[in-house]
């Protein structure tokens, strides 16, 4: 059975079915969306027993010629790097769907675009052919444009087009780099096959690899987002509806880091090494500067958005270390950042839905009134600031561990970012939950069942991965060791 195709395209089937349902039948539309996202989730989980932790080879491979005259294949497969991200995607999609149940406007279109978006995201992580990868990569843009632009906040339209143009600019350069790789490939015919291309890197000169790397990097860095290409992120995050912020933070940003590891590193190793000194500087800037910017925010959502900049900096830091620990940390950090920041956005959405403001200073003492909310928010914030025992710590620490071997000074400076992260999260908690209760919010209800359903699983995973990170780590260890071993 073609599991990966099932996982990837089940939501597409759902999207097409939704198109056929009259738009008044909102319940049916939601049900279909859940059904097909659920199929995807279950199918991806069903791969878990069959997924071998002991090999670095691609698994569940599907391959047939797609555009033979151009050497393009339909080539899907997962390994320890991509499989955890596939799981993250299917899981977070279902969570975000729960978070989407509050959508009341143009329900049909919303779920249609949502499912299309999920197809794109899953495809990116499964594709092993560069063109296929690029197609899926771009496929995420259009749904995202609509999801932000129709269902977003006050400046949604500007945010949507900025997101689109910005990321598209990056990805077209990536396309050029992909084409350059194609023409550099040797053998009976040119190929877009990532695995084949990775074997040929030895024959390419350094100059070429640097150019290719830069092209690829431009696309990836905007997605990550790495300084100075990060400024679309706060805007997009702030304007997007809650569930879409969740997806944006949890999955979309991961595509950039994944691309760096899967493509930039594998296909232009010399370029990658050439770029490392710059990458480490960018990582440090992302961490420290992102945290500082977050500190200056009064809007909770924007603060969380900047914290994403900060957290993706850890991923870059881990990658820049060029050590297995760093890579492991980066991948693990992707997972945990997805879960934690997803939860954070959901939680910010909860308060926004009630109070219609996200201004940190508008609240005060809410812990008395909303104990469950306060507890979950605190847990998530502490997880996000890297408190040991919660998921954020392991990834962050491994990133540092990996980077420190190569970049002692940079890693040491980055540690300051941890402090700054703690500072802004603590301040937010202090202003919102602690202190004197602001009587304005006297009739704020605590969390509803639907909200709990979407957030509690994330909180549980946060704790679980914090105290027992073995499961996700075991999935990726062998693959990452092999990546650096060659």
């Amino acid at each position: 059975m073609n599991m990966l195709s099932l996982v990837t395209f089940a939501p597409l089937a759902g999207a097409l079915i939704i198109l056929c349902i009259p738009k008044e039948k909102e319940k049916a539309i939601q049900a279909v969306a859940f059904l097909f996202a659920g199929i995807s989730l279950i199918a991806s989980l069903a791969m878990l027993p069959g997924f071998s932790r002991g090999t670095h080879e691609m698994q569940f491979v599907e391959r047939f010629a797609w555009i033979p005259s151009f050497g393009v294949q339909y080539f899907m497969g997962v390994d320890g790097l991509s499989y955890p991200l596939v799981l993250l995607t299917t899981f977070m999609s279902v969570i975000a769907l729960v978070g989407s149940l509050g959508i009341e406007k143009r329900v049909k279109e919303y779920f249609f675009w949502f499912l299309v978006l999920e197809v794109g995201m899953l495809g990116v992580f499964c594709a092993l052919d560069l063109i296929l990868f690029y197609v899926f990569w771009e496929l995420t843009l259009v749904p995202m444009y609509f999801l932000i632009g129709v269902w977003g906040g006050p400046r949604k339209e500007f945010a949507a087009i900025k997101f689109f143009l910005y990321t598209l600019t990056g990805s077209v350069f990536m396309l050029l780099a992909i084409l350059a790789l194609y023409f550099a490939s040797t053998g009976p015919a040119h190929t877009f096959d990532m695995l084949e291309l990775a074997k040929m890197t030895g024959g390419w000169d350094r100059h070429f690899q640097i150019l290719v790397f830069l092209g690829l990097y431009f696309g990836m860095a905007i997605k990550v987002p790495a300084f100075p290409f990060h400024t679309w992120l706060p805007l997009a995050h702030v304007e997007a509806p809650t569930a879409i912020s969740v997806i944006l933070a949890a999955v979309l940003l991961k595509m950039g880091v994944y691309g760096l590891l899967r493509i930039s590193y594998s296909l232009a190793p010399l370029g990658f090494q050439w770029f490392l000194p710059a990458l480490i500087v960018i990582a440090v800037i992302n961490i420290v500067y992102g945290a500082l910017c977050a500190m200056a925010q009064t809007d909770m959502k924007k603060m969380v958005a900047y914290s994403s900049v900060n957290h993706m900096g850890y991923c870059l830091l881990g990658i820049a270390g060029m050590t297995t620990a760093g890579f492991t940390g980066a991948v693990f950090q992707m997972l945990t950042h997805g879960i934690i920041t997803g939860a954070l956005f959901l939680l910010v959405g909860v308060i926004y839905d009630r109070a219609h403001t996200r201004d940190i200073s508008a609240f005060g003492g809410l812990a008395v009134k909303l104990p469950v909310y306060a507890a979950l928010m605190s847990l998530t914030c502490f997880a996000s600031l890297g408190l040991p025992g919660l998921a954020g710590f392991i990834g962050e620490f491994l990133c540092f561990l990996g980077a420190f071997q190569a970049w002692k000074l940079a890693a040491t400076i980055s540690v300051l970012g941890i402090i700054a992260t703690a500072a802004f999260f603590l301040r937010m908690m202090q202003k919102v939950f602690l202190g004197k209760f602001n009587e304005k919010w006297a009739d704020l209800p605590d969390m509803t069942a639907r909200e709990l359903i979407s957030i509690v699983p994330l909180a549980a995973l946060t704790v679980l991965f914090g105290v027992y990170p073995k499961w996700p780590l075991d999935l990726m260890n062998v693959t990452l060791t092999h990546m650096l071993g060659k």
């Binding site: 003492g365 002692k408 703690a422 939950f433 004197k436 062998v478």
Partner: protein, 707 residues
């Protein structure tokens, strides 16, 4: 029993979870007893472990590890899967600390049942205390530095929760943030040290790291860096200068919680960390010396602040800081045993002091010493127990403090650093002075505020019981431990047989081999031979160390004899100044040295500096965001807009040459080029179109032909 040591942190953790999630808020709920019982069990286990260790019936260090998780790592370019274990490592100091922590925590919890009875979040409080204790116990037993670090950080969280327990008020919320942030600042040092250690050793296991150091594989520079990092971490948690600013503010939490923080958990953690990684410091003598001076500065500065404060809890807090300075100083001069000895004794008498102070505050509803006075008549148990504690902390002969402080001073004396010694000696006398002052103001003489005095009453048994027990320990623990050199047996100073740099680098085995060849499990087998080997290799060192310990145990005879009299003199001076209802002598002295008092009152301006730092950070953050919104976004978002602008300027220029047209600037998404190009057809003049064609082709043709 020792094989079940892993349960010691887990039981309170489970109790905490149970109390958090399993019980409803209810002042009459018996649920707090869950925590008490859990702690009692832990205390029992700890005592049995301690006795086993003391009697030598189990071999120490005892280590046992379980696999936890694995991750891919690489050291020196070689990749391997590192199996991170989680485990326990019990040695003498750990065994002692277990008893201290569980005992103090037990006392605090029993005491709190009465003390916190009326609070709305009664249950939550006990949950926090158990959680706090569990984190500390985790640090104590952990065989693995990373797990230790995790416990360490969780302790930070616990302190955050406990200090901010009354979060409706602004004071506690500020204090909790300050505590968390300041210790976090220190933790960053520890963080870097951990990274450095792993980068060098390829393991987080204490025994393996010790082995690595023992063989002299660690380069001197790295050793110094690691030691600095560890020291920095300890400075944050153990409130050393200049990071001690959080501790006085931490008073905002419930008083029994403060007792826990000051006696058994937070502040002890830093000292314990230094002792746990003492070999790292031994390999970096300069850092040790710096640690001694930091301890000294801390001790002196804090004691000086304690001289002038009228807030009973603050005086105690400053005294804690000061005493921690003593411990750090002791560790810094090589007085390992003395430092830990003082940690132990201090735990008892400081817990006692806080609980006693809590009892007093509970009774008179104020923290202000000036409003107390004459309480000895009303609160007889509190009076005597606090008297015992003050005797101990002041170093009255044969109380516990006398032994431990004596040993510290002896160690400092033997380090040969005379300025250090005399400052510390002076600080010891200041200790006696301010504690006596506190005592006199609170209990002696006549009541100054008769209303409060009238309401004052003795606390219930649940509160006085722990006081009595702790008073007993404050008086006797020093004597008990000092007898027969038990303290040296329980708290032996670690050694390293080869100093860094004595082994050529190339002889060092690849670091990965260290972790690869040393199985994570059965660490006790691996550790033991290394210990044995160390002895084998350096018997001379060992003998010298042995000799030194005994020698360092004593001050020169004259000093040793003079010390009690100096202390008594200091106490007498306090009586002289603060006798009488309006302590006129003290007030006149204060008037004479007003500037000094102001400086002390302002706490050496360190808090102001901290506030400035906070403001500065806010400014930096605001600046960063401004840059982001106004520079980065402009330049990079509309990123290539810059390029477009240039192109457009050029096209503009060409345009102007022929048709004299200006292009308006255009905001938004840098549509300048578009504007310029659009200008070409602005008027819809067909002959203008033709003109452009003619221009283009005449130029092109001419260029091609005249090439």
């Amino acid at each position: 029993m020792i094989e079940h040591a892993y349960l010691i942190p887990l039981i309170p953790l489970a109790a905490s979870a149970l109390m958090h999630f399993g019980a409803k808020e209810d002042p009459h709920s018996p649920a707090p007893w869950i925590g008490v019982v859990a702690m009692a069990i832990c205390l029992g286990m700890s005592l049995s472990i301690l006795s086993a260790v003391a009697s030598g019936s189990v071999a120490v260090p005892y280590e046992h590890n379980w696999p936890w998780f694995s991750f891919a790592a690489s050291i020196g370019g070689k990749s391997f899967i590192y199996d991170m274990p989680v485990g326990v490592l019990i040695d003498g100091p750990a065994a002692v600390l277990l008893v201290v922590v569980t005992l103090v925590s037990l006392m605090v919890q029993i005491y709190s049942i009465a003390y916190m009875h009326d609070d709305t979040r009664y249950m939550r409080y006990f949950g926090f205390v158990s959680f706090f204790t569990a984190s500390m116990l985790g640090l104590v037993v952990s065989s693995n530095l990373l797990v230790g670090f995790m416990s360490w950080e969780l302790m930070g969280l616990a302190s955050y929760l406990l200090i901010g327990f009354w979060f409706e008020k602004d004071g506690p919320t500020e204090a909790q943030k300050k505590a968390f942030m300041t210790t976090k600042l220190g933790d960053s040092g520890l963080y870097v040290a951990l990274l450095f250690l792993f980068a060098k050793v390829g393991s987080f296991q204490l025994t393996q790291i010790h082995h690595f150091y023992d063989k002299g594989y660690m380069p001197a520079a790295a050793a110094a860096a690691i030691a600095i990092g560890l020291l920095f971490g300890a400075m944050g948690k153990s409130a050393q200068f200049p990071l001690f600013i959080w501790l006085p503010d931490a008073m905002e939490g419930p008083t029994p919680g403060s007792a826990l923080i000051h006696a058994a958990t937070m502040v002890a953690a830093g000292i314990f960390l230094v002792s746990r990684t003492y070999f790292c410091f031994l390999a970096a003598p300069q850092v040790m010396h710096a640690a001694a001076w930091i301890g000294c500065a801390t001790a002196f500065l804090a004691a000086a602040m304690a001289l002038v404060s009228y807030d009973i809890k603050r005086v105690l807090a400053f005294s804690t800081v000061s005493q921690l300075g003593f411990m750090m100083c002791a560790l810094g001069v090589g007085g390992y045993t003395a430092g830990l000895f003082h940690l132990t004794t201090h735990a008892f008498f400081k817990a006692l002091l806080f609980l006693g102070a809590g009892s007093v505050i509970h009774s008179v509803h104020t923290n202000d010493l000036r409003l107390m006075g004459g309480l000895s008549k009303k609160m007889i148990v509190s009076f005597f127990t606090i008297l015992a504690a003050i005797a101990a902390i002041s170093g009255i002969p044969f109380t516990s403090g006398y032994y431990s402080k004596d040993m510290i001073l002896a160690n400092i004396w033997h380090s040969g650093d005379r300025p250090l010694f005399f400052i510390m000696l002076f600080t010891a006398l200041m200790t006696a002075f301010y504690m006596s002052r506190l005592f006199i103001l609170a209990f002696w003489g006549e009541a100054r505020d008769h209303e409060k005095h009238h309401h004052a009453h003795e606390s219930p048994f649940l509160m006085t019981g722990p006081l009595v027990l702790l008073a007993f320990l404050a008086l006797t623990s020093g004597f008990m431990l000092d007898r027969h050199g038990l303290v040296y047996k329980l708290l032996p100073k670690p050694t390293i047989s080869v100093m860094p740099g004595e082994v050529a680098r190339e002889h060092a085995p690849p670091a990965t081999l260290v972790s690869a060849t040393m199985p994570a499990e059965g660490g006790e087998h691996a550790a033991a031979p290394s210990e044995a080997k160390a002895e084998e290799h350096a018997p001379a060192h060992e003998a010298a160390a042995e000799h030194g310990e005994h020698h360092e145990g004593h001050l020169p005879h004259a000093l040793h004899l003079a010390l009690p009299f100096l202390v008594l003199g200091s106490i007498g001076f306090a009586f002289f100044l603060y006798k009488g209802p309006d302590y006129a002598a003290a007030e006149s002295l204060k008037a004479t040295f007003a500037p000094v008092f102001t400086v002390l009152d302002r706490r050496w301006y360190l808090d102001d500096a901290f506030d400035l730092l906070v403001v500065f950070c806010d400014k930096v953050a605001a600046l960063a965001f401004w840059i982001d919104a106004n520079v980065v976004d402009r330049v990079f978002v509309d990123g290539w807009g810059l390029l477009m602008r240039i192109v457009s300027e050029i096209s503009n220029l060409i345009d102007a040459l022929f048709v004299d047209r200006t292009v308006d600037g255009f905001g938004g998404l840098s549509l300048d080029l578009g504007v310029g190009l659009r200008g070409l057809v602005k008027d819809g003049q067909v002959q203008e179109y033709l003109m452009y064609v003619a221009i283009a082709f005449s130029l092109a043709a001419t260029l091609i032909l005249t090439r």
